[in-house]
C-alpha cells in the first residue's frame, strides 16, 4: 500500500472524500492530506473501524466535527455494498430471501418489529446496525421511480415500521430493569434516536451507491451544531446545544482573560520603576506599570420570547448569564407584548435544565394577548423599568423584528438607545429575510445597529466583541 497507482481508484476516492470534508466546513490542509495517505499506508486494512480512526486522527482536529466526518466516511467508504455479505451467504437466517415477494407484508412487518423491540431493549449496537440496514432494504425501497429520483427512502421505512410506537414498550421494559420512569424515558429516546440515525445513514449509503457519494454529501448532510440555524432546530438539537453552552462560555471566558492579560500593561508607574532601578545601579532595567482597571459594563437584555424565536432568546440568555462575571450587572427582560423581568431565574450556579423550564413557564407573564408587539413592549419597558437604563448600561435586544404590522414605537426605542452606552439588536434571521412580510428590521436597524446572529458561532463571535 505504499504507492497509489492512479488505476486503483483509491486515490481518486480519497481526494473526493477530502473535497467533501472541505465543503462541509472542515479545514483540511495539504499537509493533513499527506498525513492521511501516510496513515493509510501504515495501517492494516482488515478492520474498517481502525482505518476510520486512523483517518480521523490525521484529518479531524476538532471534536465537534467528528459527526460530520463519520457521516461522510460512511458515504465514501461504505460499510457494505447493497445487501452486504448476509444476502450472499446461503446459510443466513433470511431463508425467505430467494422469494422477494414475501419480504414485505404485514406478517413480515410484525416479525421485524418484534425483533427490533428486542434489540432496542437490549441496546445491542451491532444488532441495531444490522436491523437498520435490513429495514431500509425491506421496507424503504421504492422501486419503479423515475430516473433522477432515489429509490430508497428512510422516511418510507420509518413510516412503515414506525419504531416510535415502540417507545412505550421499551420504557416499560427498562423500568422492569429497575430504572426510574424519567431515566427509562431518556434512555428509550436515546436508543430510538440512535436507531433513527442509523436508518437515515443506511438510506444515504444506498442512495450514494446509486447516485455517487458527491451528490448525497451535498444534499443530505446537516451542518455541525455550532453552524446550525437557531430557527431550524429539532428537539434533539436543542438538548445538544444546551450542553454546548457552558463549555462555550468557559472557552470565551478563558480567551477574554488571556486577551485582557495581554493588554494588561497600564501607564508607567514612575515611583516603582525608580525604586526597582536601585538594585541595578540606577539603570531602570525593568519598568513597572500601573494595573489597568478593567471597566465592566452593565448589561440589559430585552428578548422576544414568542414561539418563533424563543430558542434563540433562551440560548443567548444562557450564554450571557454564564459570562456574568465579565459584567458588573446583568438584567434580563422577556416580552411578547408585555414586559416581564426574568433576572431572578438566573441564580449563580443554578441548574441549566431548571432555568430553561422556569423561563418557559414565565413566558405567560410576558404576554397579554399573545401576539408579538414590539412597539407596545418597548413602551411598557420604558414606563415600568426606567431604572434599568443608565449611561453605563449596554442594551441588547433579541428578536426577529416581526411586529404583526403594529405600531413600532421607534421614538421610544430611540429614546432608550440614546440613554445607554451602547445598544445592539441581534436578529436570528438571515439578512435576506429581513424586511420580508411583517419584518421591520431595517426601520429598527436605523435606530439600533442590527446584527445577524443565526448560529452559535455568530453568537459567540458577537459576545466576544461585546466584552
Amino acid at each position: 500500500m505504499s504507492e497509489h497507482r492512479s488505476g486503483s481508484g483509491l486515490l481518486d476516492r480519497h481526494i473526493a472524500f477530502l473535497e467533501a470534508l472541505r465543503s462541509a466546513g472542515l479545514s483540511v490542509s495539504l499537509a493533513e492530506d499527506l498525513d492521511a495517505i501516510a496513515v493509510l499506508s501504515a495501517l492494516p486494512w482488515d478492520d474498517r473501524s481502525i482505518v476510520r480512526e486512523g483517518y480521523a486522527a490525521a484529518l479531524v482536529k476538532k471534536h465537534g466535527q467528528r459527526g460530520t466526518f463519520d457521516a461522510l466516511f460512511d458515504l465514501y467508504f461504505p460499510r457494505m455494498i447493497g445487501e452486504g455479505a448476509t444476502a450472499l451467504d446461503p446459510d443466513a437466517e433470511e431463508a425467505d430471501a430467494d422469494d422477494p415477494g414475501v419480504r414485505d407484508n404485514a406478517e413480515a412487518l410484525q416479525a421485524f418489529r418484534d425483533e427490533l423491540l428486542e434489540a432496542l431493549l437490549s441496546g445491542d449496537q451491532e444488532r441495531l446496525q444490522q436491523l437498520a440496514a435490513e429495514m431500509v432494504a425491506r421496507f424503504g425501497s421504492m422501486p419503479g421511480r423515475g430516473p433522477g429520483l432515489s429509490s430508497w427512502s428512510a422516511y418510507t421505512a420509518l413510516q412503515r415500521v414506525a419504531p416510535a410506537e415502540l417507545v412505550e414498550q421499551i420504557v416499560r421494559g427498562l423500568m422492569g430493569e429497575g430504572r426510574t420512569e424519567e431515566e427509562a424515558d431518556r434512555a428509550a429516546a436515546q436508543r430510538l434516536g440512535g436507531f433513527t440515525r442509523a436508518v437515515e445513514a443506511d438510506a444515504r449509503r444506498r442512495i450514494a451507491e446509486e447516485k455517487g457519494p458527491d451528490h448525497v454529501a451535498k444534499v443530505a448532510l446537516r451542518p455541525t451544531i455550532d453552524r446550525l440555524d437557531f430557527l431550524q432546530m429539532r428537539k434533539s438539537d436543542l438538548e445538544e446545544m444546551r450542553r454546548e453552552i457552558y463549555p462555550l462560555a468557559r472557552r470565551l471566558a478563558t480567551r477574554l482573560t488571556q486577551e485582557h492579560h495581554a493588554r494588561r500593561r497600564g501607564p508607567l508607574d514612575f515611583r516603582r520603576t525608580v525604586r526597582a532601578s536601585m538594585s541595578t545601579g540606577g539603570v531602570p532595567l525593568v519598568t513597572h506599570h500601573k494595573p489597568k482597571r478593567p471597566h465592566r459594563n452593565e448589561l440589559v437584555v430585552l428578548c422576544d420570547v414568542s414561539g418563533s424565536v424563543a430558542n434563540f432568546a433562551q440560548f443567548t440568555l444562557l450564554l450571557v448569564f454564564a459570562l456574568r462575571d465579565q459584567f458588573q450587572k446583568v438584567r434580563a427582560f422577556t416580552f411578547i407584548d408585555h414586559v416581564h423581568e426574568v433576572t431572578h431565574h438566573f441564580k449563580p450556579g443554578a441548574d441549566v435544565v431548571d432555568v430553561m423550564a422556569d423561563l418557559a413557564a414565565s413566558t405567560s407573564h410576558a404576554a397579554l394577548w399573545g401576539r408579538t408587539n414590539y412597539g407596545r413592549a418597548f413602551t411598557r419597558f420604558a414606563e415600568l423599568h426606567p431604572d434599568a437604563i443608565g449611561p453605563k448600561t449596554s442594551l441588547l435586544i433579541l428578536g426577529d423584528a416581526r411586529s404583526n404590522y403594529s405600531d413600532l414605537a421607534l421614538d421610544t426605542l430611540r429614546e432608550l438607545a440614546s440613554q445607554t452606552r451602547h445598544a445592539w439588536w441581534l436578529n436570528p434571521e438571515h439578512t435576506r429575510h429581513w424586511d420580508t412580510g411583517d419584518s421591520a428590521a431595517s426601520r429598527y436597524a436605523d435606530v439600533v445597529p442590527m446584527v445577524e446572529c443565526r448560529n452559535l458561532t455568530q453568537l459567540s463571535d458577537f459576545v466576544h466583541d461585546l466584552l
Binding site: 479545514s27 490542509s29 499537509a31 493533513e32 498525513d35 501516510a38 496513515v39 501504515a42 495501517l43 492494516p44 478492520d47 473501524s49 481502525i50 480512526e53 486512523g54 480521523a56 486522527a57 490525521a58 479531524v60 482536529k61 476538532k62 471534536h63 467528528r66 430504572r179 426510574t180 424519567e182 431515566e183 431518556r186 434512555a187 436515546q190 438538548e239 444546551r242 450542553r243 457552558y246 463549555p247 468557559r250 472557552r251 478563558t254 480567551r255 488571556q258 492579560h261 495581554a262 450556579g349 443554578a350 441548574d351 441549566v352 435544565v353 431548571d354
Partner: protein, 289 residues
Amino acid sequence: MWFTSPDDAATRLAATGYLADAATATTAYLAGALEKPLLVEGPAGVGKTELAKAVARSTGADLVRLQCYEGLDEARALYEWNYKKQLLRIQATQDSGDGQSWDETHDDIFTDEFLLTRPLLTAIRREEPTVLLIDEVDKTDVEVEGLLLEVLSDFQVTIPELGTITAVRRPFVVLTSNASRELSEAVKRRCLYLHLDYPDAEREREIVSSQVPGLDDVVATQLVDMVSRLRELELKKAPSIAESVDWARTLIALEIRDLTKQAVSDTLGVVLKHVSDHERAIKELKLRS
C-alpha cells in the same frame, strides 16, 4: 519502533495497566509509526496524561514532562543560559590576569557547560527512547505555541549562539489539552488528533477493577452503572474515570458492600463537585424520598 501494530499497542498498553479502546490504540500506534506528535483532547480525568505515562512504561522509554501554565516562557520550556556561572567565569578570567582576550572568553561562556536545558531541549537531545509529555497545552499563552512549532514539526531547536540542534532520536510526543481554548491551526496541523471520552460501561468496569483491587464485582457493576446514569443527566461536570476510581476506593474504605440509594446519596460528594449537580442527581435519581 514504538509499536508494531494497533493490536500490539493495545496489548502492551494493557500490560502496563492502561486499557485502551480501538481509537486510542490505533492513534498511539500511528503516532509512533509516523513519528508525529499526538494531540489528546477530552474532558478532565479521562486518562490523557496517563496515556503518555503508559506509553513510556510499555516501551521502556523515559518520560520527560513539560507542564504548561499561563506565563510559561522560552526560558522554562526550551533552554536558558546560566548567567551566574557565566559571570563567575568572566570574573575568574579577569582575576587570574592571564590576558585571555574577550573573544576567547565570549566563545568560552556560550558553550554546553553554561547551558541549562529545559524539558523540550532535554527531550530532543536524549539518545535513549523518550516520551515527551507536554501537559495542558491549552493553558499556555499563544506565543508558546509558536515556540512549539519548530520542535513539533522538525524536532529541532535553534539556539542563536550554538546553532540548530536536531533530534538524534525522535521522541514520542504527547500533547494534552482540556479544550479550554482552541489551539492554533498551525499546532493542530502538525499533530495527530485523538479525542478521549468517557469509556463505555464494560471498559470502565475493567478499568475500575484493575485500578482498585479488592472491589467486589457486584459493587463494581453497580458503581459503573450509577456513574453512567449520572453522566446521562445534564450536569455541569460529569463524573470522570478518575472520580469513578476515587468512588470505588471510598466504598472500600467505608466497607460498603452494596450500593444502595442511601449509600449513593451519602458518598455523592466524591463524584459530583457542584451543589446544583448534587440537587439534580438527587432529584432525578430519587435518592431521597
